[in-house]
């Protein structure tokens, strides 16, 4: 039973952490290596909320807004000229991540900070006491998935976005302002990144490097899952389960490698990964 909950919550955490990266990669084919730094920014947004003695629940919207604003600035200044040069964009976002990390060090110092969690303690479920916050992340991840799927599949914006994904030239020919779609998507993606940062603070320490640990796993998951939200969810399910099983039955030291190894293996056997079914 605990194993089952471990798997579900781990999958939820992976999905939350990866969603923002997916949003940007899926639409723009740009791998946003500043994603790790965005997670860190989200963590510090939650820290600011704690310092101001506000309600911890406010850290979620604050992180989301901070990330979206940062995304708007970054898109217009840094990413926009690089859409045709995705490799340079990797370099630029990697550098941006370093700069953001250093700005955080200058503003808040190197030390580990502490953030109040919105809920504490445990809930009793199926006869076991399990961390309440981890359980909460399951509906949060589901909600996030539903919102994003709804946005991409059920709205006018979603139709345009998918048009841009499929064939940008044709979409432009039809009068879709692809630049604006990219702008909105990018800032939405960065906002999800910082939101994820705030969401994981009750589980991880808040320090200037907190996001880096998640970056590699998130990157692998996005590489494998291609560009649909459904396939990202499936990928998180498969990889999260695999990771927890390795951790539990083999060794956590190897579990740290589980996602990277399985991703390499999957892409070797099936270069498309989980995309398109």
């Amino acid at each position: 039973m605990i194993l089952f909950l471990d798997i579900l919550t781990t999958v939820a955490i992976l999905f939350v952490v990866t969603a923002g990266l997916m949003m940007i990669f899926g639409v723009m084919k740009i791998v946003n290596f500043a994603h790790g730094a965005l997670l860190t920014v989200g963590g510090y947004a939650a820290y600011v909320v704690t310092q101001l003695k506000l309600d911890p629940w406010l850290s979620w919207p604050l992180a989301l807004v901070t990330g979206m604003l940062a995304g708007m600035v970054v898109e217009s200044l840094i990413v926009r000229p690089l859409y045709k040069r995705p490799l340079d964009a990797i370099l630029a976002t990697w550098g941006l991540g370093i700069v953001m990390g250093q700005l955080i060090v200058i503003a808040f110092g190197r030390e580990v900070q502490f953030v109040d969690a919105p809920i504490k303690g445990t809930w009793s479920i199926f006869g076991v006491d399990y961390s309440a916050y981890r359980l909460l992340l399951i509906p949060v991840a589901c909600g996030l998935w539903a919102t994003m799927t709804g946005l991409l599949n059920g709205t006018r914006f979603g139709v345009k976005t998918r048009a841009v994904i499929m064939n940008e030239d044709l979409a432009r020919g039809l009068g879709i302002h692809s630049g604006r779609i990219r702008f909105i998507t990018f800032s939405f993606g960065t906002g999800l990144g910082t939101l994820a940062g705030a969401l994981i603070t009750p589980l991880s320490s808040v320090d200037p490097n907190m996001g880096l640990n998640w970056l590699v796993s998130a990157f692998m998951l996005v590489m494998v899952s291609g560009h649909s939200m459904a396939s990202l969810l499936v990928t998180c399910l498969v990889f999260g389960t695999f990771q927890v099983l390795v951790n539990t039955f083999v060794s956590p030291v190897l579990g740290g490698l589980a996602i990277a190894v399985l991703a390499a293996f999957t892409l070797r056997m099936r270069p498309k990964g989980f995309a398109n079914g």
């Binding site: 399990y130 961390s131 640990n213 951790n247 030291v253």
Partner: protein
């Protein structure tokens, strides 16, 4: 004009040489401190610098060592091995210090020791570490696993009646070393290790380990993670899981425990120095620190206090030897003692120091209550081949 110019030049040279001679007579004794002003150690470095400054000021105010003033040479080692090599090169061969008294990471210490040996400089290592590092020029005045682990295990088995232990750590030298020793110690005391789990040092997901602890239901839990992030994420996830098992943390310091708030409440730790040790020496030390640094004071800790005592031990050794001659000082360092904030310290056990260890419990308000003091805990034969 010319003769006068010549004359004044001679005068200047004469005056200058007199000055040089004078300066040589009262040449200060230079104490080198290599410390991580940048990098991972930069959170503790300021406290170490402050306690060094206090020690040197006190010694100078009381007339110096053998009538000579003491001068600090502080160099940044960037918290790592490469930085330490540069820092020790600078201290030993450019600044020509008489001694180096410093905390280092184990990697940095190992990188620095060949330089110390080449320069023949007495070296006092002031950081706790995994033990068994030996060099004829080095003394250690901080704890090794033999001293830190025993109080935690003894307390758990005695006061908590613990028979089964679960060990958790990060997969690196300190984590593996500490827990390997802990396991042996528990087994010699008749306890049983029912689980031993490691996570990579950059890992932050303790999910499966927490679940294992829950299913094994040990009487006590002991962890040796890397300081900082992994330590915090483990504590948070344990707290989140609501495990009520007594938890001894071998890698936490008082300052971190304080900032962790309710996550650390109820955690046990073992240290040679805790802020509220109630002795005249510690109270005087804390007052002097407060007077000297006022609002800028960095709370004294497990690394800064051995640094303070190390400088006094060097003073005592030079006075006993009657000179700064390295060979004589090294011999004297093992014989002298100093009554400091941690009590009487004497580096007389195989180049290491029997220490009074305190077992503390983190209280809800972040202070640490000293539950038990274990006096003169023996470091064991760390360096049997060095006399």
């Amino acid at each position: 004009m010319k003769p006068i110019g010549q004359f004044s030049k001679t005068l200047v040279i004469a005056a200058a040489s007199a000055l040089v001679f004078h300066a040589h007579a009262a040449d200060p004794i230079k104490i080198g401190v290599a410390v991580g002003l940048s990098g991972a150690n930069s959170t503790v470095a300021p406290a170490v610098v402050q306690s060094s400054q206090l020690a040197v000021d006190e010694i100078n105010a009381a007339g110096g060592i053998l009538g000579r003033k003491v001068q600090l040479e502080i160099v940044d080692d960037a918290s790592g091995a490469v930085g330490a090599q540069k820092a020790y090169d600078t201290l030993v061969f450019q600044k020509k210090v008489n001694t180096v008294i410093a905390m280092e990471t184990s990697a940095a210490r190992n990188a620095a020791l060949p330089i110390i040996t080449r320069g023949k400089v007495p070296y006092i290592y002031t950081s706790f570490y995994e033990g068994r590092s030996c060099n004829q020029w080095m003394y250690v005045n901080a704890w090794v696993p033999e001293q830190q682990v025993a109080p935690v295990v003894d307390y758990f088995s005695k006061s908590k009646n613990a028979k089964t232990f679960f060990l958790v750590g990060n997969d690196y030298a300190f984590g593996r070393g500490m827990l390997e020793f802990t396991k042996k110690y528990i087994e010699t005391k008749g306890g049983k290790v029912v689980g031993e789990e490691y996570l990579p040092i950059d890992g932050s997901d303790w999910t499966s380990i927490v679940s294992k602890i829950r299913s094994v239901k040990p009487d006590a839990l002991i962890s040796a993670t890397a300081g900082g992030a992994p330590n915090v994420s483990l504590a948070k996830q344990l707290k989140g899981a609501g495990l009520g098992v007594p938890y001894g943390n071998l890698a936490i310091d008082e300052g971190t425990a304080k900032t962790m708030g309710d996550v650390a409440t109820g955690m046990y730790l073992s240290a040679s120095y805790l802020g509220n040790i109630d002795t005249p020496e510690n109270n005087k030390f804390k007052d002097s620190m407060k007077t000297k640094f006022g609002a800028d004071l960095k709370t004294p800790n497990e690394l800064s206090v051995p640094q303070y005592e190390g400088i006094y031990l060097y003073k005592a050794a030079v006075e006993k030897a009657g000179s700064v001659d390295p060979v004589k000082v090294i011999k004297a360092l093992g014989e002298v003692s100093f009554n400091g904030p941690r009590g009487v310290v004497q580096m007389n056990k195989s180049r290491h120091t029997p220490l009074s260890m305190r077992l503390g419990e983190v209280q809800a308000d972040g202070t640490i209550k000293i539950l038990e003091t274990f006096t003169k805990v023996d470091p064991g034969e760390q360096c049997p081949n060095i006399k």
